[in-house]
């Protein structure tokens, strides 16, 4: 029983970690309708920034979020404006996907050039210390990530539901042509959304960096599972991404213990397939509008 509770706790903490990475991805996926393969590399850039700021200035890694979030916002916005937007009217929209794959490779190799293949350790300022709840042990940093993921999800939901900008973002996602007719600057909305999506992962990276050693390929460790979560939760659904992440985290932890660590990916992806067969639009998904395709 004690072991079971510990596994559940581990799974939830892992889910929180996945959630904070996946939320930004689902935003970009759902609204700009671009599969951003460079999302993991945004995480990597954010983690290196956290590492540099923490070790260079001697500040708490969480404090670096103040700088990392705006920088990642700009990185995301620039990516949309300079890389994706010129391809918006390409004959085949899949070209955008290849552009993000190219960006991903370029960023990984840039990091290899600057930092080398070795790992970089962000000072952890005690966030690796343990908290004991009953018989269950978790890391302080994991708990913060979990709470931050909840806050991020609620904050984004409020932003999208209650503000004019948020409504404009949702309108553009539902029907780009109609949104334009209503006077919404869809290009600006896309740049803004991409920026926010990247800023979310920037927030996450400040929290993740003190727990995981940073390396040029760290993003690739997260991005595949993040895609699974986004599809599982329903494209573009932020609560979907959160609960999808918790499900994947729990399944990963439980199958890792009860079935064996060599099979846990098979179990994770098996459950993913089963859910998709039963509910093709994902747990929280609605039918996706294709209206943006027509001009």
């Amino acid at each position: 029983m004690q072991t079971f509770l510990q596994i559940i706790a581990n799974g939830l903490m892992l889910g929180g970690l996945f959630a904070i990475v996946a939320v930004g991805l689902t935003l970009i996926f759902g609204i700009v309708k671009v599969v951003n393969f460079a999302h993991g590399e945004f995480l990597m850039v954010g983690m290196y920034l956290t590492y540099l700021l923490t070790s260079g200035l001697g500040v708490h890694p969480y404090a670096t979020a103040v700088a990392v979030i705006p920088i990642l916002f700009v990185l995301g916005a620039v990516t949309q404006r300079l890389l994706i937007q010129p391809l918006m009217h390409a004959r085949d929209e899949h070209i955008q996907i290849f552009a993000t794959v190219g960006l991903s490779t370029a960023l990984i190799n840039l990091a290899l050039l600057i930092f080398g293949a070795d790992i970089a350790n962000t000072p952890n300022y005690g966030v690796r210390s343990q908290i004991q709840i009953g018989s269950v042990r978790i890391l302080e940093g994991q708990l913060w990530i979990f709470l931050a993921a909840i806050l991020l999800v609620i904050g984004l939901q409020l932003f999208l539901a209650r503000t004019n900008t948020g409504r404009a973002i949702r309108a553009t996602a539902q029907n780009r042509a109609a949104a334009r007719l209503m006077g919404i600057n869809d290009r600006f909305i896309y740049v803004l959304t991409f920026g926010i999506g990247a800023a979310c992962v920037g927030f996450g990276s400040a929290l993740i960096a003190p727990l995981y050693p940073t390396s040029p390929t760290i993003g690739t460790y997260f991005v595949l599972i993040a895609f699974v979560i986004v599809v599982l939760g329903g494209l573009g659904s932020i609560p979907g991404a959160f609960f999808g992440a918790l499900i994947i985290g729990l399944v990963d932890a439980l199958s890792g213990f009860y079935i064996g660590s060599d099979l846990r990916e098979a179990v994770v992806f098996g459950i993913f397939l089963v859910i998709l067969i039963l509910k093709p639009s994902g747990l929280f998904g609605t039918r996706v509008s294709q209206a943006h395709v027509s001009p």
């Binding site: 080398g116 293949a117 790992i119 050693p213 460790y221 890792g256 846990r264």
Partner: protein
């Protein structure tokens, strides 16, 4: 028109003249860019130092050795670069490769072209054993790694725990690519032969971000020794999560890669990594009496590159390259068959190379005397502790 054609002729003549005085060329095929660049470059430095030393002593068969680099950034490019080295550069042999998959790909090209291929650093079993006539490997392999880790348990750890080897419970975990799987397979086989109790063998993807379930599983199985074959990220993750869940087996034996590197120790903390064992290529804390020339190598390395060697890869490549060049020096010509014939004659006993192990090619053209070394993190340093003749410090086993 006329002037340019004269210039072109002159340039061509200069080229021909240049190549006439050119020295004998050898290819150095390593990943110099991309993911594996760090240790690829480190490996190549060993060969560069060997070439410098050979040239300082009169070259090979009286000719100066020129090393031509090929960048094996992935398997396809390894093949392309091997072709370029052979066809365009006209190298007499290729040395490489650090990465096993690149080695397997590129050596096939060399074999078809009838150019000898000397593998100095790739560990996968499949590198040799494909019936290639011109491929020779000087470095120890995955099998040597598995053998050495089990020997350490039988000879040192079991006695320190006051247990018979048959009472020692062992958990084997490994990243699930061909590297980890093959080492773990050897550990299981040698472990069973030695009568150890193999409690579990589990693979996991190297890109994992959580190993807590695996740690809980090992904890539940009450193992005395954990053997992990891993890269850097998963080494750090396992050591941290094992420590945090209070899992303290009597010994943890890491295999290569992550366990030998100082940044790993920094990532997990010197107190956490204290006492952790590691099986890998010979490193610089080996007893100099067992590895004559190792200290000179380090000195040359420092002078040439202005820093300390970053891993033992350069040393092992240096040792392999020195032996190969010495053999080729005694060959009748630079023809492939003459080179191979000379290399077959290499007979260097243990304790006479800068890496300690001897060199003699046996079955499948694998160096039968190649050996891994057993090391342990003690007071923040990775010291050689096994075998006794190479050790600079005693193995410390708790409990």
């Amino acid at each position: 028109m006329r002037l340019s054609s004269i210039m072109a002729t002159a340039a061509t003549a200069a080229l021909i003249a240049g190549s006439a005085t050119a020295d004998v060329k050898f290819g150095a095929l390593y990943p110099f860019s991309g993911q594996l660049a760090l240790l690829g470059e480190e490996s190549a430095r060993g060969v560069e130092i060997a070439v410098e030393e050979v040239n300082a002593n009169g070259g090979v068969q009286g000719e100066e050795v020129t090393l031509v680099r090929g960048d094996a950034v992935d398997n396809n490019q390894a093949i392309g670069e091997a072709r370029r080295l052979i066809a365009r550069e006209g190298v007499k042999a290729i040395l490489g490769t650090y990465s096993s998959s690149r080695s397997i790909a590129a050596s096939q090209v060399a074999e078809l072209s009838g150019i000898p291929y000397f593998e100095l650093g790739a560990v996968a079993d499949e590198v040799t054993g494909r019936d290639l006539q011109y491929l020779y490997r000087t470095n120890p392999t995955a099998e040597d790694m598995g053998r050495m880790s089990v020997q350490m348990i039988v000879d040192e750890i079991a006695p320190a725990l006051d247990k018979d080897p048959s009472e020692v419970r062992v958990g084997i975990i490994h990243e699930d690519s061909s590297y980890g799987t093959s080492v773990a397979g050897h550990q299981e086989r040698f472990g069973e032969e030695a009568g150890l109790q193999i409690a579990t063998v589990q693979g996991y993807p190297a890109s994992t971000v959580d190993m807590s379930s695996l740690v809980l599983d090992l904890q539940g199985r009450d193992v005395d020794v954990v053997m992990q074959t891993s890269y850097q990220n998963d080494s750090v993750l396992f050591l941290q999560q094992a420590n945090e869940s209070g899992f303290k087996p009597a010994a943890i034996i890491g295999g290569g890669g992550g366990y030998s590197m100082v940044p790993t120790a920094e990532a997990v903390g010197t107190d956490v990594i204290e006492g952790v064992l590691d099986v890998d290529f010979t490193q610089y804390t080996v007893d100099p009496a067992y590895a004559p020339g190792m200290e000179d190598f380090v000195e040359t390395y420092r002078e040439k590159y202005g820093e300390e060697p970053r891993s033992g890869h350069s040393l092992n490549n240096y040792v392999g390259a020195m032996a190969i060049f010495a053999a080729i020096d005694g060959a009748e010509s630079f023809e492939a068959d003459a080179i191979v014939e000379a290399v077959e004659q290499i007979d260097i006993p243990e304790g006479e190379t800068a890496a300690g192990y001897g060199i003699q090619f046996g079955e499948n053209n694998q160096n039968e005397r190649a050996k891994m070394m057993g090391m342990q993190w003690q007071d923040g340093k990775l010291l050689t502790v096994y075998p006794a003749e190479a050790a600079t410090s005693e193995m410390r086993i708790g409990k």
